[in-house]
């Protein structure tokens, strides 16, 4: 076997292996770079009242940020779970839930909250400044920020099924109880 035979065979095999591995990836998901970094500060008007809320208000608390939109069908599937989360942890003074309304019209957002119910505050993000600061590319997206203001968790997609229990058992409970955060 000559040298070029070997190189050629290697190149062909390498390429085929690469293609094979590529078949199982999803070219559309983007891994986040924000985990472990200081959460960007933000401020915005509350959807219904228009009252301005600034992130500094939540210093020292565990914050769950949920980006959603009225036109997003997957957001509807997780909405019940979000309300359940708030029922479960809402009484904890160290916990805050906030919705960020992403690329939406005020009326549509209001109507959505009326229909599906709301027990926590939702901020409007008309210019996309908050969303882009958090590297959001598709709703729903959920972030958890710890007491020190560091982003500890991010999930893209609806919080249903395993994603929901994982969020409670491996993220929120440890953070709120001050247990070490299990590395997944």
């Amino acid at each position: 076997m000559k040298g070029w035979h070997f190189i050629l065979a290697l190149a062909v095999v390498g390429l085929l292996v690469l293609f094979y591995k590529g078949l199982w990836g999803d070219p559309r998901t983007i891994p986040t770079v924000l985990i472990g970094t200081q959460a960007p500060s933000f401020s915005g008007p509350v959807v219904r009242t228009g009252e301005m809320i600034t992130s500094s208000r939540f210093q020292g608390k565990v914050v769950l940020l949920n980006f959603w939109a009225s036109w997003c069908l997957e957001c509807r599937t997780e909405h019940e779970n979000l309300l359940a989360l708030n029922r479960r942890f809402g009484s904890n003074p160290d916990f805050v839930m906030l919705g960020i309304n992403y690329q939406d019209r005020k009326e549509d957002a209001e109507k959505y909250l009326e229909v599906y119910g709301s027990t926590f505050n939702h901020l409007r993000d008309p210019k996309g400044a908050i969303s882009i600061d958090y590297g959001v590319y598709g709703v729903p997206e959920t972030f958890v920020i710890d007491r020190q203001g560091v982003i500890r968790y991010k999930y893209v997609g609806p919080l249903v099924g395993p994603a929901y229990t994982n969020l409670i058992e491996n993220v929120l409970e440890p953070l709120l109880e001050g247990r070490p955060f299990p590395r997944s």
Binding site: T37, G128, G135, Y137
Partner: protein, 160 residues
């Protein structure tokens, strides 16, 4: 036809007539728009299939363009703005990957291949040339005076 390139250049000129002096404010605004366009073309629209945020018609891309503009007006440099988006979305958002680490394979690979291939080609060609002349000298019968005369005659007869 010889003048074709010049003709073409003149054509370009005739189309790109410089715009007349406008107000200072709009000039500055245009400058910012121009810069924004250059930056937007290097960032990938994260919700689109494969478009820059300049080309994309998605709402998110629109908002990103506005943010670029805002930051430009605050006096940030294009590289600072790109660094901001990089810190939020990661490498995915850069249409031209950073020149570091494994990415050098991407940036340098083709040029390295060109250099190595060129060198290899040059050496192979030189070897072939050397082989060719050697075999030829061996194969050819020695040229005596008679033969030389004939060759010269034939060469002359062809040169009319």
């Amino acid at each position: 036809m010889k003048n074709a390139p010049i003709l073409i250049l003149v054509l370009i000129l005739s189309i790109s007539i410089p715009f007349t002096a406008a107000e200072a404010a709009t000039v500055e605004e245009e400058q910012i728009d121009l810069q924004m366009r250059e930056i937007a073309k290097t960032l990938r629209c994260t919700i689109c299939q494969n478009e820059s945020i300049w080309e994309s018609q998605a709402e998110l891309a629109h908002q990103m363009r506005d943010i670029i503009k805002e930051r430009l007006m605050k006096g940030e440099s294009p590289d600072e703005i790109r660094a901001y988006f990089l810190s939020r979305y990661g490498d995915y958002i850069l249409l031209a990957p950073q020149k570091s680490g494994l990415n050098w394979l991407l940036w340098g690979g083709p040029f390295a291949l060109l250099a190595v291939g060129g060198l290899f080609l040059y050496r192979t060609l030189s070897r072939w040339v050397a082989q060719t002349t050697i075999t030829k000298q061996e194969d050819l019968p020695p040229i005596d005076d008679q033969l030389r005369k004939r060759i010269e005659q034939e060469l002359h007869s062809r040169e009319d």
